[in-house]
Symmetry: C2
């Protein structure tokens, strides 16, 4: 009997028909039986007559597998495997914990410190390898990336492969059409026929990320589309979702992001706002492993920048967390309260020097957002957009991956380490309304530590009147930019003032001593 | 016949009764006649049997004056004076111009660059003189100040005089009471009897400000009250308004601010939110000169900091402009559009080092707010809160005046000068929504200049696609912190990229060359 480690990908491969369009004609699935659990898992055609079904077992012991198909040679095949305990470095998939936070399934703390390299898997091999080595050198534990190739400013190269059979009929450019559902004849692609090699490559990259301990926050649809993939219509969307979920759901580090900037897709005429309920439910139903699932906005909510648009309805039961674009970092505790779900600022402006407002944040600004968001109980995602000239062909991390040129990533690592070494399995935001609203303050779940970020403000005298009564703390001044910690020779409690040097980007880390 | 310069204060003094309570018992007013204009102006009792009526003539020529009183000796006195043309340095009062901006009444541009020293007139003489000399050395042209003494953190000294007869019966502290209208017995003050000496002093300081070309944005009520002045009840509020408006409305540099933090007054039980309509209408009706009139909030609107409170209804016809407390600087163009009135950010956090979030902004942050607000078509007000230790008795500019210790005031002057020397009689905000929302961009009314603030962002390549078609500009890079201007050797138009050095707090000032 074969073995499969808990939370790793079990794969069963059978030979089947190659005639017709196997992607459309052949139904193939398996029931995974464990005790009284009977889990239905869709399989997929991997080309060359190979039919596969993959599954991530969550329980240690013997699993019995039985296939179902409308094709005799694929139907009623039976086998078993033993699910062995997880090894030390395997903590399982990430899941929501305690409503607004995350852990790995084995209970190990997981605080998302993500980055963004949307189209990295579609670059040349050398750039892809560089991306992996850059990720290895840094401490990001999540990456936002697209399942489809990307067409956008600074990212106009055609990919080496396409997800579907066919090739583009037109010059590169945002694909325009009059209807929500494009005529495939116009685009040159047959959306009913997948290109297995394209997905095999994507899979390999997701496994490479898993080996580095990085979650793949995979974006299923996006508006930066030159090939009609953003407007295939509901039937082909469903076909694509069934296929990609069947291929990838067994990888423990997969997260589903239904879309990047779904509301921009509506504005561009690619997919109506009403499309996402069906798409979300389909992903949720198809995924036997219950991976994290969200959707990402373009428009900021009414609190900012003059727009009156609203966010997606993140209260829907199949949405596991908020994946928002916003640089309003004050509301995090309120939103956590409102939604009772984790909140990830998956775009809060990128460190870079480009001509766009979302991509010309300073490194200091990027780090500032991390502290302000994370110490208020949310999570932030990094991105980097440095160019050498306008319309450059040099890889830019945010789109292509490659190397990081910025200064924020080290400081983000420093914050991550400070939290990890001071008991912050997650951050409980502290109520500091009133005169202290300019601080971002979080408490460790064990209540032994309080972490207050001062940012670019410059109080030289503070009284932390929000501290719990009777608690006494020792204090370190954290220089978030220079990444140093200096002991403050004062005992801090809620009733007494203390002195802080005047300097930007400082935080105070308190440790309870009574 | 006496002369009075246009927009200066004409004063008529008559002798009258001293028995009883002249402030309550004696009605005294005058009609100022000029051609077909007959303007009713309330007079006031100045103590020692002296009854006065003051008036700011707006028309050059002969004015006939006739008094009205319920006391014979003050009734039907007739006199005349000649209103002479304004001298060169007298531009008249400031008024709203073109809906969202200001000018002096003679048409001279006026862009408010205000500061804040709430209780400066209640400090010792030496501190008051220092305040005036500090103002003289700087370029602020408006100051926010209170008509009543102030009791608040860092400002707990009793004033030398009180506005009413009596003296406090209780230890200093925020005055608490169960009702909106306090029993004067409890406070030790007779609100029906004014102390003329108190008001004479206030008047002198307003005249001193006028001599420096500074508008006195006088706050009539405020919550930092230790004497019951914040809860006198409607009848005594009216009596006070009639008196103070009669005394001060003839000074051309007076602005009326009904209250500081009126919504905090409601929360403290001092004055209900419903009180302000009566107060505002009363000030408006009593003032024959139509001075600028607004009211200032405590709570930020729903766009910020999690509060759901709203602003005052600034659409009321007697409100001339918005006087807001907010550090949300993105919405200015939208709010200008919504309200069609000028918007002054009369509190957008102060430069300082104190323990409160509103008073620990850096100098860079203060200057940043000025650029972001002013180049979006609004106006900003400075304040400074540097202490040497908690609970210090050293004067703090924001409360006491005295000297400025900060670094923002010079940079504010530099901005003011840049605007004055580049045709910005006011600033037309330019629509830079979309990818350029992080910029604050204004155009001069003559369309010869565009001023784009980049702030702490760091684009190294820009394309100003919001510029008018066919316009070509020369450009200077303004270092807003170091106060330098460097010519950019590029011609700028809407179609071409240009390079900017990477550095925080820069702005680009364009001058049309075609």
């Amino acid at each position: 009997m074969t073995n499969c480690e808990r939370w790793q990908s079990y794969e069963l491969t059978l030979d089947g028909p190659t005639n017709g369009n196997p992607f459309m004609d052949v139904e193939f699935a398996a029931i995974f039986n464990y005790g009284t659990d009977h889990i239905h898992v869709r399989g997929f055609y991997d080309g060359n007559g190979k039919y596969k079904v993959r599954f991530m077992p969550k329980s240690v012991g013997i699993w019995n597998v039985k296939t179902i198909s409308n094709v005799d040679e694929l139907n009623d095949y039976q086998t078993s495997f033993t699910c062995t305990p997880a090894q030390d470095n395997n903590h399982g998939p990430v899941q929501v914990s305690g409503k607004t936070h995350f852990t790995y399934e084995d209970g190990t703390p997981y605080l998302p410190f993500g980055t963004t390299a949307y189209a990295w898997v579609f670059q040349d091999s050398k750039t892809q390898e560089k991306t992996l080595s850059t990720l290895k050198e840094n401490s990001f534990n999540k990456i936002r990336m697209t399942a489809f190739p990307k067409y956008y400013n600074y990212n106009t190269q055609e990919p080496a492969q396409y997800p579907f059979a066919g090739s583009p009929t037109h010059t590169t450019g945002i694909f325009n059409d009059d209807s929500w559902q494009v005529d495939p004849q116009k685009t040159g692609f047959d959306y009913s026929t997948f290109n297995p090699s394209y997905f095999q490559h994507l899979e390999q990259r997701i496994k490479d990320l898993d080996a580095l301990g990085i979650q793949a926050d995979l974006i299923l649809f996006h508006p930066y589309d030159s090939w009609g993939f953003a407007r295939m219509g509901q039937a082909m969307d469903k076909h694509y979702i069934q296929y990609i979920v069947a291929r990838l759901a067994s990888y423990k580090n997969i997260w589903w992001s239904l879309a990047n900037e779904y509301d921009l897709m509506a504005q561009l005429g690619q997919k109506p706002l009403s499309a996402w309920d069906f798409i979300g439910k389909t992903v949720h139903q198809e995924d036997p492993s219950g991976h994290l699932l969200s959707i990402h906005n373009f428009y900021d909510p009414p609190v900012h920048k003059g727009t009156t648009k609203n966010w997606f309805d993140y209260t829907k039961p199949w949405i596991t967390h908020l994946s928002i674009q916003s640089d309003n970092v004050f509301f995090v505790p309120k939103w956590l309260d409102d939604f009772q779900k984790p909140i990830i600022f998956d775009e809060c402006r990128y460190e870079g020097n480009i001509e766009f407002g979302w991509g010309d944040n300073s490194a200091k600004g990027m780090v500032d957002s991390f502290y302000r968001i994370v110490l208020r109980g949310g999570y932030a995602t990094h991105g980097e957009t440095y160019i050498d000239k306008p319309n450059t062909t040099r890889p830019i991390w945010w789109a292509h991956g490659g190397i990081l040129r910025g200064e924020s990533q080290k400081r983000i690592t420093y914050l991550k380490q400070l939290l990890a070494t001071n008991g912050f399995n997650y951050v409980n935001p502290m109520a500091v309304q009133g005169p202290h609203w300019e601080l971002a303050v979080g408490e460790s779940p064990d209540k032994q530590h309080v972490f207050a970020y001062i940012g670019d403000n410059q109080p030289e005298f503070e009284i932390f009147d929000f501290l719990p009564k009777d608690n006494i703390y020792s204090a370190q001044v954290i220089d978030t930019w220079n990444m140093t910690s200096t002991k403050l020779n004062e005992r801090i409690d809620k009733n007494h003032y203390f002195h802080i040097p005047r300097k930007p980007y400082q935080a105070i880390l308190l440790t309870k001593i009574n």
